[in-house]
Every structure is written in C-alpha cells, then in structure tokens.
Symmetry: C2
Subunit: 483 residues, 2 copies
C-alpha cells in the first residue's frame, strides 16, 4: 500500500502533506493513470491517521481533477495531460514560474456569486441579490484607517498616482495573493482599476480589438454584454463537467479565452487539472492566444479546499489573472485588479501607460492599509462564518419543509449560492412568475445561457448572501407555495 512519511512536514497540516504527496506521485508518474487508490479506511489505518484526513485529501484531489471516483468502487488516478510547451527562459519572470507554496492552505475555502445587477426593487425576499448587508461592512475600521491615512499621508494623497495604482496597494495585493492563493506575483505585474468591467475594457485595448474573444456558456451574462458593447467578436463555448469543452475551443477561431476555472458561475464547476493543462497547451500553441482567468470569488468557498489558480500553473506568460474586492469587501467600493504576465505588462506600459488611475488615492491607501494590517483577512473569516451560517439555516429550513421531497440541491459548495432543481410540472418561467407575485426574486439557471435555452428540469440559483436570517423560514415557505 502507498506509504508516506509524516515525520517532517513543517507547518503543513497532515491533510495538506498527504494531498501534496499524492499529487506529486501523480504528476511524476509514480502513480499511473487508472491506478486505484487505497480505500479511505484501510489507508487511514495503514498511515495511522484519521479517515477524515484521507477524506479531505481525496476530496481536494478530486475537486482539482487529479483523481476520479467510480461509485461503490473507489478512487482512481486520472490521466493528466502534460504541459507540452516549456517556457522560453528569456521571457519568463523568475518569480512567476516558481511553484505555488503551501501557504495557499492558510485559507480554508473560497466561493461567491455574482448576479446581473438591477436597480433595487421592492422584493420581500431576494434570492438573486449579492449585496452586502450594511451591518456586515467594517465601517468603524474603514473610518479609522481613512482618518489615519488623511493624517499621515496628506502629501501622498494629493500626489498623482501611477495610472496602474499606488505601489503600496499593488504590493499588498501581491502579498495577499501569495498568502491566500499561493501565487508568486510581483507588485510590478499588478494593475488597479475601478471594477472588473473597466479592466475588461483595458484588456481589449491591450490585446487588440481584432482578436476573437470566447466566453463560457452558461456564464456571467454581463461579460457577453461588455464584449458586445465594445464591438469585438465573441464566441460562446459550452461547458462539460471538467470546464470549457476542448473540442469546441479547438474548433473555434478564438484568440482570447475568458473563463473562471476555479469556480464557474453559475454552475460551480471547477476546471479539472487535466482540462487546465489542456487549456494552457491550447494557449501556448499560438503567439496571440491568452487566457483571462476571472477569479472573482476566490475568497469565499465555504467548504472546499483552495483550488490553485490557473495563473500559478502557467509557465508561458499566457494567463491574465483578474480579481476584485467588490465581492469580498463590498460591491459599492469599486476596486478590482489584474495581474499581467511580465511581457504584457511591458506592452501595457507602452500602449496604455498614459491612462490616469480610475480609483481615488483615498481608497487606494485605505485599502492597502486594510490589507497590510490584517483587517481584510479578519473580515473574510468573519464573512465566511456568516455565510456558512446563512447557508446552513437555509438548507435546514428546506429540509424540514414540504419542499424537501420535490427538490434536489446541488453545488452547495459553489459559492454564495446553490442550485435548486425542482420536480414540477411548471416551467422555470411559470415558477419565476409565481414567485414574483409573492414578492420573491429568483434567477433560473437558463437565464445564464446564451440565446434561448430552458432547462427541462426547472433549476434555480439560490443566493443566500443577502438574506436576513429571520427572513429564511418565510422565504422557504413562500418558495414552497410556488411549485
């Protein structure tokens, strides 16, 4: 049976160490495709560690696609696509090519949700909203930091910042990515902007308007609207359980692939390691190809283990990483950022370096301090606890209600929402209409598909991040009345 030593594992947890050890054996070929892994119980007994530890390590390997499971049979090693292109050493930045450290594990989980924004309407219960409740935002801390910044940095506050953002914030973000995502990023690669939508516009200017862009179908509908408004060609690629369909991608004429591999919206699909390598190989096959990795909600994953970013697998400067504080802090402070591969950063400075900053110095300095002094980490931990509580309450209410016999809940780890499949003779639209009449706003999965599409089994997105705890029983009651 597989044997690993746990005698010298440093700061890593047993689970981390086991996960890394098995992964290394898979990547190195010591474990071959289709090899069967030991059963959890016997492996635990053999290694003299708890079954939970094995379970966690297997779950993580499964989520990332290194192994697969067959019902009632067990866990098997996947056939991992190799990265066929090796980096051009003269082009790749040392700090980018290095492996992600195990500090990715400092963060337990990530997830989140984003929903097409609409003007606030008078719904009683809003399962489609992703707004932050006012009592959740750390006003006192934010105010305190801003006061300190105004007292200490009046000259800096009045000094025109570099268009890409103040060095302090870019350094704090690089540090954050290192600690929470295990990403090796230099502050020089970071660009700050007033929201991801603005950054998408900058990327089109950087990569070129003549390029063909491809996005996920289903997906976050706003991205499609932005590419349309920018008058660039866009393709809609289907998803399978492992991510973007490679066949469709290979057959398409697209140059730039815009995806959320760590956590697809709205289905929660995690792009498997195999598919990740296939995607990187696809990108490396032609000079003009790039992948935009939209990691919009990596801070909130309530259950799962951290999934490595595609950016940290990339050794060919093919991945542009993009993320935002609008999900993790509040959607009403407009600060997002992207990480460009070094050669694209150079191009950016030449072509677009003249642009002024789009985020106020006041908020850039305050956020830098918020990150540096550990407030962001605390905030995230508090929010995760809060959201977990919301989810558990909602799930338990559903379980206890008559609804429970008619619904299937999937992807409850998908972020700040889950998918609810309903056995009903009604269509999605009919259920939505009935819900609206009861003051319930609810998004259907079909709404996130390109063109007309309707799931045969009505499926809805239940976003619980903006619900009030005391609302939940009533919300479930109302929902039950609609089906």
């Amino acid at each position: 049976m597989l044997t690993y030593s746990f005698s010298d594992i440093g700061n890593a947890s047993l689970y981390e160490h086991l996960y890394h050890s098995i992964k290394e054996d898979i990547v190195s070929g010591t474990l071959k495709p289709q090899d069967r892994l030991p059963s959890k119980r016997s492996f635990a007994k053999h290694l003299n560690i708890s079954t939970i530890t094995i379970e966690n390590a297997y779950a993580q390997l499964l989520a990332e696609g290194y192994i697969y499971s067959l019902p009632k049979k067990g866990y098997y090693v996947s056939d991992i696509t190799e990265l066929v292109y090796s980096p051009k050493s003269d082009r790749v930045h040392a700090s980018c090519a290095s492996e992600a450290s195990s500090s990715a594990f400092k963060q337990e989980s990530d997830a989140g949700v984003s929903v097409v924004k609409e003007a606030p309407v008078a719904y009683q219960v809003d399962f489609a909203s992703n707004q932050t409740c006012a009592e959740r935002f750390p006003f006192a801390t934010w105010m305190k930091l801003m006061r300190e910044i105004m007292a200490e940095k009046s000259t800096e506050l009045m000094t025109n910042p570099p268009g890409i953002g103040i060095p302090e914030l870019r350094a704090a973000i690089a540090e954050h990515l290192q600690q929470f995502r295990g990403m090796q990023v230099s502050p020089e690669q970071v660009i700050i902007g007033a929201g991801t939508e603005y950054l998408y516009g900058l990327l089109i200017q950087l990569l070129g308007r003549e390029k063909v862009y491809a996005i996920e179908n289903p997906g976050y509908t706003k991205i499609a609207r932005i590419y349309a408004a920018q008058q660039v060609a866009v393709r809609h690629l289907s998803m399978d359980r492992s991510g973007i369909c490679m066949e469709e991608l290979e057959q398409s004429d697209c140059d730039i692939l815009h995806i959320s591999p760590t956590h697809h919206f709205p289905t929660g699909i995690v792009t498997s390691i195999n598919r990740r390598n296939e995607l990187l190989n696809w990108a490396a096959a032609s000079d003009g190809r790039y992948i935009i990795e939209d990691d919009y909600d990596c801070e909130f994953r309530l259950m799962g283990k951290p999934i490595r970013s595609l950016q940290s697998l990339d050794q060919m400067e093919k991945v542009i990483y993009i993320n935002t504080f609008t999900k993790s802090l509040t959607s009403t402070i407009r600060i997002s950022y992207m990480v460009l591969p070094p050669h694209l950063m150079e191009l950016f400075q030449q072509k677009l370096g003249f642009y002024s900053a789009t985020v106020s110095n006041f908020e850039q300095y305050t956020l830098a301090k918020f990150l540096r002094e550990g407030y962001f980490e605390k905030h995230i931990n508090r929010m995760r606890k809060f959201y977990r509580n919301q989810r558990d309450e909602l799930l338990s209410c559903i379980k206890k209600s008559p609804l429970s016999s008619k619904v299937t809940i999937t992807e409850e780890d998908a972020g700040l929402h889950f998918l609810l499949r309903i056995q009903s003779s009604l269509t999605e639209a009919q259920i939505q209409q009935k819900a609206a009449a009861k003051g319930l706003r609810i998004s259907s999965l079909s709404q996130f598909y390109h063109g007309t599409y309707e799931h045969t089994v009505p499926t809805f997105l239940i976003n619980y991040s903006a619900l009030r705890l005391e609302q939940i029983p009533m919300a479930v009651e109302l929902l039950g009345q609609c089906i």
Copy 2:
C-alpha cells in the same frame, strides 16, 4: 447714442444688465453688423455709470465674439452666424432648450490647466505640474462629511448604486451647473464616471466605433492617445483665433468633434459666438454628428467673465457636455461627469445601462454633500484667490527680473498657466534642455501639436498652480539663466 434703462434690473449687476442688453440688441438685429459702439467714456457719461462697468461689459462681449475691436478705432458689432436649424420639438427636453439664467454671473471667473501626467520626478521647480498642494485640500471638511455619511447612510453606502451614479450626486451636479454655468440640466442627463478618460471610452461605445472623431490641434495630447488606444479614426483640426477652423471641419469626414470651446488648452482661445453658431450648424446638418464639449476647467478663470457653455446654446441635442472634479477638487479623487442630450441618454440606457458604477459610493455620497452644503463653492473661491496670488507673484517677479525685456506673456487669463514667448537664439528644445539641467520642468507649446512642429519663437506653458510662493523668485531666476 444707445440708451438702456437700469431701473428694473432685479438681482443682476449693472455690468450683467448692460452685457445682456447689448447682446440682445445684437442677436435681435437692432444693432447691425459693423455698427460702431459708443466709446467707453462717452457711453459711461451718457448712461451715468462708471467706465469700468462699460469696460467689463465690452470685454465680455468681445471674449464671446459678439463684438470686435479695431485698434485705436473702437468696438464694432460682429456679423453673427444664425442658427439655421431649429429644434424638433418632440425631441428636445423642455429644461434643455431654455435660456441660461443670469445666475451664470454668480461665478466670476474660470480657467485651469491640464498637462500630460508623468510619474513624479525630482524637479526643483515644476512649471508643467497641475497637482494640488496638500495644504490646499480641505481634508478636515472631507473627513467630517465622510464620517457623517458613514453614520447616516450605512444602508445606502452598501446598496448597489445605479451605474450612472447616485441620484443625490447627479442632482447636486445639475444644481451646480445651474448656479455656476447657468446651464439648465436635468439630473437624469448626468452620468458619473471615474475620470474623463473613462467617460471618453464610454462615449466611443455609445456613439460608435465606426465614427470619425476630430480633435483640436494643438490640444491636450492625451485625448489623441486615448482615441488611438481605442482604435478609432481621428482627425486633427487646426485652430484660428476664433476656435476650430470651419473650413477644415467642413472638408473633413468627421462625425464627432471633441473640443474645449470655453477655454482651449493650451492656447486659452475662447471660441467666438459666431464660431459657436457655425459649429452648432455643422452638427445639426447631419444626424450622426455630435460635439463633445470638454469644459475641464470652467471653475477657474481668474480674470475673465463666465463664458456660456456651448451646451446651453444647443437646441438640437447635439452637444455632450463633459467636466471633472479632478481639476477643481484634486486630481487624485477620480470623479468626472458628462451631460447627455435626452435622446442620447435613452440610447445610453439601452446600450450601456448595464455597466456598474466606477466611482465608490463612499466618495459619491461625500461629494454630493460637499456640493450641497456649499463647501465646493467655498473651496473654489479660496482656490481662485490662491491661484490669483500665485500668478500675480510670478508675473511681478518676471517683471522685476532681467527676463522681462526678452519675453512676452500672453493669455495670462488662460487658466492656471500662461504662455511665455521668449526672444532667444535658442530653440525650444535647447531651452528645455538647459532648464532640465537646472531642475526646471517646462512644457513647450509645440509639444501640444500633432506630429512634428516647432514654434519659430520659443513659446512655453508656465503652469503656476503647483508652485510654492517661496519658490517663485528662485524659479524666475533659474528660468532667466536658460535663455
């Protein structure tokens, strides 16, 4: 001789009343082109008011192009181009078509300057900077308002704002435009964005990428770079003393004209009333034509009288008005806005209404309060006094220095800079080089021309807004050593 009654002039000053009376007579045809106006002294005696009042009224009419002067001969009525297109009544918003009220006169003056931004360098004296000194920004007030906002509006602060900006700020801006620019604008026409550069990008998406854009030559160089980065066709049109050359405009294939008619950068040229009407006629002649009026520094004019905006002359929904708080408050708070004609606002909501806000709620609410409670007006008045003092000190230092015999100062009312023509055997580039060696940064007028261009008489932009009073004698001394 011309006679006007001053018995019932309401709140208007004598000067305002006289200006309006003469203007009306010119527009109505009572005063005919080439009619000679009374000399200042005889007119003053006749009306029993001071010569200064007559002088101010004439200066204003002259600045706007209603009259012209012949040296040693006097003032004559201009031949005003009529607006040949009349508004389609079903398309024009009532509040837009109405006359600007005399409250435009509440503001004494406007001006300002904008310069290609660079990363801060260690110059001893920077005649090219437009940064706000830290001690000039009202930190205490800003902090107080932000604290109040956080205390009073925590729910609103966490509520996703409309993409075009919070209603409070849009209303405050409409009110401000009414009071300071005499513009009749509805808050529904206002769009807030993170800097004018961002708004230019939105306008291209709104008006269409296939359109041909035209800009001023010389002009603010960044605008040309933005259109280039956005990959749209752009034409560079020459300026004469009255504004954009109509001949070049008529011969060009451009659809969208982007200008600063109230105060051209860097020459300070005010587009004459005649030329304004010609421009509006040009725009009205074809459906797809629009004028972008960039009013970037209307708050600072140290001497001049207020010049009406082109937007307030427009009765055909052809003018898009754009302005910013980055000049008037600080360049490091990124809030700008534009005013769209109603039919374009409708199109915006259809095509681009899905975009999220780019300015943080915190700063939108704070600025709204800052405007509403009169702090902005106070700030502007204080800054005007400060800048006037800077300018006077600089001019007096130059007058007293050996430099005075070799330079001509023009457009000293052009904003927060003036033009300095230097009699010298050196070229502009040589003088700049010598200046740089002495730690002096200085922009030449030629730098603002499209392509290669060099003024035969070396001409420089002297921006005094960021100078320290105590620096000024030394700065003049150093400059003197360079020529």
